[in-house]
Subunit: 426 residues, 2 copies
Amino acid sequence: MLSVEEALEKILRKINILEDESVPLLDSLGQVLDEDIISDIDVPPLDNSAMDGYAVRSQDTIGATSKSPKFLRVIDTVMAGSISRQEVVPGTAIRIMTGAPVPAGADSVVQFEDTAEEPRKTATADQTVSEVGILAEAKPGRNVRRAGEVIARGATSLRKGTVIRPAEIGLMASLGKSQVKAIRRPVVAILATGDEVTEINQPLPEGKIYNSNTYSIAGLVKRYGCIPKILGIARDNEDELVSKLRQVEDVDMLLTTGGVSMGDYDLVKDILARDGDMVFWKVRVKPGKPLAFGMIKINSKRGLTKTIPHLGLPGNSVSCMVSFELFVRPALLKMMGKRQLAKPTIEAIIEDTVKNDDGRRIYDRAIIERRNGHYYARLTGPQGSGILTSMSLANGLVLIPEDRKKVNKGEVVQVLMLDWNEEVNL
Amino acid sequence: MLSVEEALEKILRKINILEDESVPLLDSLGQVLDEDIISDIDVPPLDNSAMDGYAVRSQDTIGATSKSPKFLRVIDTVMAGSISRQEVVPGTAIRIMTGAPVPAGADSVVQFEDTAEEPRKTATADQTVSEVGILAEAKPGRNVRRAGEVIARGATSLRKGTVIRPAEIGLMASLGKSQVKAIRRPVVAILATGDEVTEINQPLPEGKIYNSNTYSIAGLVKRYGCIPKILGIARDNEDELVSKLRQVEDVDMLLTTGGVSMGDYDLVKDILARDGDMVFWKVRVKPGKPLAFGMIKINSKRGLTKTIPHLGLPGNSVSCMVSFELFVRPALLKMMGKRQLAKPTIEAIIEDTVKNDDGRRIYDRAIIERRNGHYYARLTGPQGSGILTSMSLANGLVLIPEDRKKVNKGEVVQVLMLDWNEEVNL
């Protein structure tokens, strides 16, 4: 049976990065840039003041102190967004606001706090004081932000492959950019299978269960920035399953839940083996052993067909979610053009003893807490693969290696973090 | 001047949790539950099989081994979603699929691997084998999932105040729930101020800069699960600013950028002081000193007014984003009903020497990397408050305490993490 790493490698080998799209700047959040961003302006565009104060010639301030101020004649006021047509000549200064372009002749700005003029609440150009006392020396370049110091014209400010976060959005806006070329978000079809599965929001017939997998998986698809397309439920018969699969159009991945274990009515893997290109259907992991992976043909636009990856997730609710985190998430991130595919992992001291009796890698649900500079991992309780409450209580998955029969309380274990605090603020 | 903690406390004291709304299950991802979820069904609804195999009376399997199998007569087959009307009496067994209800009379399930019947690809009820060899003893309860073992009827499965993640969505679906009572997402109005600011996607007039703050802030608002409402740009004159503020309707928070420092044309704080209830306008932090906070009246539905928090963020692009992370983010999370308001913090070894000459708390932009079991923090380069590229390079903010004149290379510092790997997958 394949190890987790072998299975993941087989999946990722079949996954290609999707094509790009042109998307409005703000909508691109979380997508991956598919172009180098080369600036056609200097940022800032002109030398400008970092402070509110007076633009001066630094020579004119030599020897200035609060006890012996140097007095300069004020010849103009310049605000951010304006340009002074005056030149600062010896013995003069121009009153300047933060962000305003530094006038000709000036090489530094003395902030208000270092002048004899107290800041005033309101002032217009008319009310400009005629003289100002400079109370401190200003070195050349003091409080001046140089044109192009953030981004020079012609420079590459962001590289193709960068994940677009709020800072990158701001950076592109500072260059005037309103549309971005980014790898598009994968559309993921989700199909539940099984005669026992009933849609939510209706009474539950005897012997049936509600369709929870579709919703936990759709939630995960959304959480990682992709678009879920819910296909409903297919009964456990070949005709219905094949007909549902024929309706799958123009998606980038198919996820089915259920129908992949050893039972007579587990059709998904049989159909995949017959109609698709089945790569594997079992992984040495617990929960999540019955995972099927293959490539299947679906209908595309205008009667064409295309081949997409299909992951047949186990029907048990915990197995289904854990399989998603281990195998589907990295595949989707790769499609999106991301390079960091692994979830963050930490080391923690386990507070329970865990036995491993069948040589599979175990991912047990745990509550991770930091105390006295160490992380501690406490199991959530019973670890049955249908006990979805264990996923709801957990913020991490404790890894028990396949070659360990037993991990004792107090040992250090690897933990795959599901969430960092409340960083799940979608 | 207020410390970061004092300023944050003053802000949070004025923030109330928003009212709830009824929202479709999947849309509630990232919101906070505003009701206890009490189950009106058992999950699973009936005792059912955890494996594909044979439902038996455990007594009938005593002494069974692969060398001396116990043979039982097969009287029925039961699939998931069906119920067998037969009873397992001594000497009989019912073929059973994973998830199918355990028939009357049976108290355990023997999985296929422990029977003489090899799993077959297809079978219908007609083809049921008439006899099966049991190759191992089955203890009572073996491979049986008990009715209600995940969630018992009447039990509270999720408490009011829980953050809704994919697992919680799955859990609620497993109870048949399709609508959720959750605290609604805050709507955040964003208004840029300044004569120098020009809208993106048009040529840049001389002396002007593009409006980047609106987009970086809107990106942050989205990233944390709230709804940005972009109001555009107000010029630096009182009439225009007041008239723009009058148009703010039915939002939960107002963010302005710029207009809060010492300059003559920094109107925001003056208008806030006059028309609103200004709480403070300076914080002992770098970047981000000129932060204004107050409560202002805006128009609400049907001619009513309401009072909302207003944060006047600094105009410098880095200061603006850092102020958001330090002050706006916790305020929004509190509005959303979240309890964990702080970003994750780690300890790292700093790889640069940082001076602190004016007694403010510094948050320097840094690249955090893990090497040999330790985190290392390397500054992104020049730390000017207008150098937005520093935010784009950074994944963390290094904290330099207000009472330290200098922190030396090699010292351990606190780091507020902006992102964990690529966990920014919106």
